[in-house]
């Protein structure tokens, strides 16, 4: 067994039982056309048990230029990609210039080309052959297909796009740079972009979620937000008092189902996230707060009323906001976007499932055809993902990260649909290889809960969204939820308030 010497170049050492079977220095990527911005590193193939992994770690302290920070460089680091995730490797051997390879993952995404400054492509492929099953593509002798037994020649016109690695969450110092002295967000697009790539540290979620959801306007000042909070609290309490004091006969005429809905809410609240310390134990006061907010919402928007799944959507909001009225108004803002998920005629869900089928058709046509042949085009197996924004699929901290990323509406309002495609693409081989029928697929998808790699999904979703471009946007019919909340409604509200 051989252990890598990590003193100078590489920042990582191999875990116990891992064997480096291939190592090449000066393997370089060219992120831009500028020679000064190339990043060199060490490429390794590592065998652990029966699995083969690839790593590429850029060298530290390549102070060749100031434009590429350490952070940029680490974006491209490949820590350990198992070859089970690799679909194919394409070899390029130009007569002039360096040889390079392009590694395409089974999700359809690719890493940037690796240029072998010191040669070694042949040796790389030969080593790989010893450890994983590869076949040469019939269409292109330079393409080596890995682990693909169904479609050995499926390699097609893949455009090389890859999602950026995630950044650390937005912290206090950086958050301050987005605000002017009075608390306005100076560049909301830049803020949304920043959050899209890394989320927010938990302590700032309270402030940031209210902005992302559109409860507070980005250009509001600290004072204006405080003022809105005050007035909204009074408004909330007024609405809450109405149903608490009992429904008048007139109201009962408009809303005959309130008692029934209230019963449903009571039933669901005691079954929502009870394993979390924030909601556990008997007589936990937070359960009463959940219950009051949902009942008030039900009264506030009785066209929609209460529907199962809403308690899942409210739970993290209350956990973050830790204030009843603030949580209520953030929930109202969220429901402006997601309310159609709960429409009585299920039109909101149907249109999203339809859009999802269009996106899969565009981005993974073999999978689409498979679903078509197997009577799975209704995409009901993704129902839970969409209805409650993956709430049951991730543990709480990861879920909050996902939600704030989706809520930025950066790149697309429908990033959640691209996330669905990203997950399906990740399991493309299993779904088709095991020839899952509708029932098996439903069970498989339900049981993915807790096993989905969030960062990978976000990265793939971003890449898929970029890759799909205009065609992707055109696949999603207009009016598919979540539509953006009406702009300026809040600022209008407190311009009235603040002129008093």
């Amino acid at each position: 067994m051989m252990r890598s010497d990590s003193s100078k170049h590489s920042s990582s050492s191999e875990p116990e039982g891992a064997e480096v079977v291939y190592l090449k220095d000066n393997v370089t990527i060219h992120p831009t056309q500028f020679a000064s911005e190339r990043i060199s590193g060490r490429l390794k193939l590592i065998k652990q048990g029966a699995s083969l992994f690839m790593t590429w770690i850029p060298y530290k302290g390549q102070a060749t230029n100031a434009r590429l920070s350490e952070k940029d460089r680490s974006l491209y680091t490949i820590r350990a990609v198992p070859f089970t995730d690799v679909r194919s490797i394409r070899r390029h051997t130009p007569t002039l210039g360096w040889q390079y390879i392009i590694v395409v993952l089974s999700s359809g995404l690719a890493f940037p080309p690796f240029y072998f400054y010191n040669g070694g492509v042949k040796e790389f492929l030969a080593t790989m052959k010893q450890h994983v099953f590869i076949v040469r593509s019939l269409e292109d002798a330079n393409v080596f297909v890995v682990n693909d037994f169904q479609n050995p020649v499926q390699f097609d016109k893949l455009t090389l796009v890859w999602g950026k690695a995630r950044q650390p969450p937005l912290g206090s110092e950086e958050w301050a740079t987005f605000l002017d002295s009075e608390g306005r967000v100076m560049d909301s697009k830049a803020l949304r972009k920043r959050i899209f790539y890394g989320g927010v540290e938990h302590v700032f979620r309270r402030e940031v979620w209210a902005l992302l959801l559109g409860y507070h306007a980005y250009d509001s000042t600290y004072a204006e937000r405080e003022c809105l909070r005050y007035h909204k609290k009074l408004e909330y309490e007024t609405i809450k008092r109405k149903w608490q004091q009992g429904i008048s006969p007139e109201q009962a005429k408009i809303f005959p189902n309130f008692r029934e809905m209230k019963g449903l809410i009571d039933k669901d609240v005691v079954r929502t996230d009870r394993s979390l310390s924030f909601y556990d134990g008997d007589d936990n006061p937070n359960l009463n707060v959940l219950c009051d907010i949902l009942s008030t919402y039900c009264f506030y928007n009785f066209d929609l009323g209460y529907c199962q799944g809403m308690s899942d959507l409210l739970s993290p909001i209350l956990f973050v906001m830790e204030d009843e009225s603030e949580s209520f108004w953030c929930f109202v803002a969220l429901m402006k976007r997601l309310g159609p998920n709960f429409n009585r005629d299920q039109s909101g869900m149907r249109s999203q499932l339809f859009a999802l089928s269009k996106l899969v058709e565009l981005l993974d046509s073999p999978l689409h055809n498979y679903f078509k042949q197997n009577d799975c085009l209704n995409y009901f197996f993704c129902f839970r993902w969409i209805l409650i924004q993956f709430k049951r699929e991730f543990e709480y901290e990861k879920l909050m990260r996902l939600w704030e990323v989706l809520w930025t509406h950066y790149l697309s309002e429908h990033m959640h649909l691209y996330a669905c495609v990203a997950i399906l693409k990740r399991y493309h081989n299993e779904i088709m290889g095991e020839q899952m029928d509708f029932d098996t697929l439903l069970k498989f998808i339900n049981e993915l809960s807790g096993h989905i790699d969030l960062d990978a999904v976000l990265r793939d979703a971003e890449a898929l969204c970029i890759f799909a471009g205009e065609n992707g946007a055109a696949s999603i019919p207009p009016g598919t939820p979540p539509s953006l909340p009406v702009e300026n409604e809040n600022s209008l509200l407190y311009s009235q308030v603040s002129t008093r």
Binding site: Q130, H131, V135, R271, R344, Q346, M349, F383, L448, H451
Partner: protein, 213 residues
Amino acid sequence: MTGSSSKGGNNSYDYSFKILLIGDSGVGKSSILLSFISNSVHDLSPTVGVDFKIKMVNVGGKRLKLTIWDTAGQERFGTLMSSYYRGAHGIILVYDVTRRETFTNLSDIWAKEVELYSTNQDCIKVLIGNKVDKDSERAVSREEGMALAEEHKCSFLECSAKTRENVLQCFKELIVKILEVPSLLEKGPVIIKQQILKQKPGYQAPHNGGCCS
């Protein structure tokens, strides 16, 4: 990283039955299922969408594969859930003995859904009153349950998913009834045939050191 696979274990069986659990939200459909499948009972989140569990059982000398479908209880999801009724051999209608409205909704809503969506004419139904462990809060009498069952020509049992009292019997009652109906049994072997077809080797097992030049 993958979800747990439903494959593996001994896959041979004489018949495969699809069973559906329906009824109002919070009556304990998921709890009855969990109690039946894993002998354990704990607090469950409200079911969103639909899920199912598989259990192999031996009844009357026959090895049976049960696919038990658990559905969301809110009526609003009905239109999407309707497709899950397709091909069901048995339907368990559940109410909560401590909440009268869950009992009345069985005739008002759920029995109608069954009539509307169930494609199997001979499909067996069982009426179940759950939560008998809360006897002091009982709001629906045993006699009322029996009368409703008679009206809809189905069997009736009371059970408690919490104490597991009568849970096994509910399923057994249903299965024995299904086994008595020849038209339902015909569907079993068909499903097995499909499964065998599907299991034919679709691809070569991966092997190391394959050649590629």
